[in-house]
């Protein structure tokens, strides 16, 4: 056990990413209701976060999984495309498979990369894989401890989350790179936990902001305990998920024996708490909450997308019971 807080360098990294995202990727960018992040892949690449864990010799930042998790949390707060997980990991997959050119193109954002949420029959369900000829992006598929970069024929699906481009890719497709990497498979779970934790924090703030300002019955609705108690639950959930993300990232970085339990718990808890908060966020917004015009629906829908990532959450708790845990 180590007692730790983010250090000065980590905080500086987070601040840099947060400032960039606040200016470039405000939630208002989704007002058109269409996928808009994949078109800005080069902007994200300019931030230097693609291949964040890639060794400097391979053109990456050479940072650790802890820094990657901190960055994922910031990306989650602005509801960045779920494909960003592939952006963060794919360069390493290419590098470890010996595909240096592909790796370089991925780090630079010249090749875009989608993320397979999971498979359904002989198809993969892929989020934000740019399929136009100009980019012909591959997607990252994670099956157990195997990570693959694949190009395959795809058909567009109509996703409940209109800001995510969902496609069905016919498998097996063409494998550009494939590696066995238990560390990266867990890192993917950790990054998904980071996105969900960030989304949860945004949800908490959105609900509390509204509860503070919306006046009914002569007072801000946040004065009513029926409202403020649920805001408090969202705040507690966010605190637990952030600290579990931190603990899990450090467990993975230091090779702790129960790292898998910690990481998968972080992912499941963040999905569970984020969904609860997203549901409340719609309720607290009243009539506007269930419209396409307010942002609350965006959060709920994105939460469902992230929850389907890397394993059905319904089945996870029973698996968590069996994983090694240091008590």
């Amino acid at each position: 056990m180590t007692l730790s807080l983010p250090d000065a360098e980590q905080l500086a990294l987070v601040r840099g990413v947060a400032d960039f995202l606040a200016g470039e990727f405000p939630l208002t960018r989704f007002r058109g209701g269409v996928p808009c992040d994949i078109g800005r892949w080069p902007d994200l690449a300019s931030l230097g976060i693609f291949g964040i864990m890639l060794p400097e010799a391979d053109g990456g930042l050479g940072l650790g999984v802890v820094e990657a998790a901190l960055v994922a949390r910031e990306l989650g707060q602005v509801l960045m495309s779920p494909a960003v997980i592939a952006g963060l990991l794919a360069p390493q997959v290419a590098a470890r498979a010996g595909e240096a050119a592909l790796c370089g193109a991925l780090v630079a954002g010249e090749r875009r990369v989608g993320i397979a949420l999971g498979t359904l029959g002989d198809e993969a369900r892929v989020a934000d894989c740019h399929t136009t000829a100009a980019y012909g992006g591959p997607f990252l598929l994670i099956e157990g401890e195997t990570l693959s970069l694949i190009e395959a024929g795809q058909r567009a699906l109509d996703c409940i989350d209109g800001t995510v481009q969902l496609t069905a890719a016919t498998m097996p497709g063409t494998v550009l790179a494939r590696i066995e990497a238990p560390d990266l498979a867990l890192a993917a779970q950790l990054l998904a936990a980071g996105l969900l934790t960030g989304l949860l924090e945004t949800t908490r703030n959105m609900a509390a902001d509204y509860a503070r300002t919306r006046v009914q019955f002569g007072r801000p609705i946040g004065a009513f305990q029926a409202i403020k108690h649920r805001c408090a639950d969202a705040a507690l959930g966010a605190e637990m998920c952030w600290t579990q993300l931190w603990a899990a990232a450090n467990a993975l970085a230091s090779g702790q024996a129960d790292a898998e339990f910690q990481v998968r718990s972080a992912k499941w808890l963040a999905g569970d708490e984020a969904l609860k908060a997203a549901r409340f966020d719609i309720q607290v917004h009243g009539g506007m909450g269930f419209t396409q015009e307010a942002d609350a629906q965006l959060i709920l829908k994105r939460c469902h997308v992230l929850n389907q990532m890397f394993g059905n959450p319904r089945l996870v708790p029973a698996q968590l019971v069996l994983l090694p845990l240091e008590v």
């Binding site: 946040g222 004065a223 403020k228 805001c231 408090a232 605190e239 931190w246 808890l269």
Partner: protein, 401 residues
């Protein structure tokens, strides 16, 4: 930022572990009966053992007889204490974690010289005297009177929910010493000798059959003014003084205890067959709930370690401790509810309880956890108002309307 890795304290940990293995009494802490005497003898004896072993006041400064361990060593101690199933009793924690630290911060030299050694050695057991019939969650509504007459405070009124008053020698008594004052003003914190004439203690039986709490009545009880801690009228500040003392580190033991209970419950589900003859763990609903509890307890543990790390860095602890307290209480309650459910018909028998680590009794007492020390509802108000800055719930205006 690395505030300390337990690896650095391996030798210390080994020393603690070895001492606890040799000294923690076998078997459970005796239940608290109506007169509390068996429990009292047990905890006095245990505190004396700790004292002789050099483990009393681990977080107290050395000049007051404490062990003065670093924050990291304290955490190692709490971890190992939980792993060794070290005895837990309000009769000890009030003196060690509350009364002692309060006297260290606000007491006079005389008060410190008399009481601190007696607390460390287990000579005296202490109880709290804060809550009243009309001042529970709303502590500032205290009405119990202390009238200053000459060099004495004359006490009339009552306190309730006082843990282990029937076995205590002294009480931290918070009184309204300024007539007509209200809320946080005009309160005083005094040391009350529980053997004073005019005190009547009525133990209250909890739904698990033990007498955890008491009602205490004061009929012209005379307490010397020299027993006032801090200034007269300064009781609220004195009551809050200990908040910064330990900064939630002892919580770490509670997180480990609850995680250990989850692991026991998982083992129970694997070993025990349900009415259908299958191991309970084969029931997907049970496996699912156990997995959720295990994950949530891990989250709770992460939250308290992070809070401990943050408190080593911040000048003043924030309201974040409320997160840990709220979640600990509700998770513990959920855990024992699940265990009760898993016991099926056996759960109806108290006699069979030792079978399952007294799960039935712990289940019954778990209803107190979300109430004592601040209800879950008040804790949610604190989180919403102090951390999220939501407007205060103005109960006074509502009642007037």
């Amino acid at each position: 930022m690395d505030l300390g890795s337990s690896g650095t304290f391996d030798a210390f940990r080994a020393e603690v572990r070895q001492w606890l293995a040799a000294n923690v009494p076998a078997g459970p802490v005796p239940p608290i009966s109506h007169d509390g005497q068996v429990h009292r003898a047990f905890i006095r004896n245990w505190q004396q053992t700790l004292h002789v072993g050099g483990w009393a006041g681990i977080n107290w400064p050395g000049k007051y007889g404490g062990r003065d361990l670093s924050a990291m060593e304290q955490i190692v101690w709490y971890e190992e204490y939980a792993r060794a199933d070290g005895p837990d009793s309000p009769g000890l924690s009030v003196a060690q974690s509350h009364a002692g630290p309060t006297l260290i911060q606000c007491g006079t030299a005389e008060q410190q010289a008399f009481h601190l050694p007696r607390i460390l050695s287990g000579t005296d057991i202490w109880c709290q005297g804060f809550s009243e019939p009309g001042a529970g969650s709303d502590l500032a509504a205290i009405r119990c009177r202390g009238d200053v007459v000459g060099d004495e405070v004359v006490v009339n009124g009552s306190k309730i929910w006082t843990s282990f008053a029937q076995g205590a020698d002294y009480q931290e008594l918070v009184l309204r010493t300024e007539p007509g004052s209200s809320r946080h003003k005009g309160l005083s914190w005094v040391i009350c000798d529980m053997r004073s004439p005019g005190i009547t203690v009525r133990p209250i039986q909890s739904m698990d059959g033990e007498y955890h709490n008491c009602e205490v009545f004061y009929d012209n009880v005379r307490i010397p003014l020299a027993n006032v801690v801090g200034a007269l009228g300064d009781g609220w500040r004195v009551s809050m003084a200990t908040l910064a003392f330990e900064r939630g580190r002892s919580f770490i033991g509670s997180q480990l205890r609850i995680l250990r209970t989850v692991e026991r419950l998982i083992a129970f589900a694997q070993e025990t067959r349900g009415p259908d003859g299958q191991p309970l763990m084969a029931d997907l609903r049970i496996a699912d709930q156990l997995g959720i509890l295990r994950a949530r307890c891990a989250g709770l543990k992460s939250m308290s370690y992070f809070a401990a790390a943050r408190s080593m860095n911040d000048a003043v602890p924030g309201a974040e401790g409320t997160y840990v307290a709220l979640m600990l209480a509700e998770t513990k309650q959920a855990l024992f509810q699940l265990w009760m459910e898993m016991l099926d018909l056996r759960g109806l028998e108290i006699d069979d309880a030792p079978h399952a680590n007294n799960a039935v009794l712990q289940y019954l007492f778990s209803y107190a956890i979300t109430i004592g020390g601040g209800t879950s509802e008040v804790r949610r108000n604190i989180i919403a108002e102090r951390i999220l800055n939501l407007p205060r719930h103005d109960a006074v205006a509502e009642l007037a309307a």
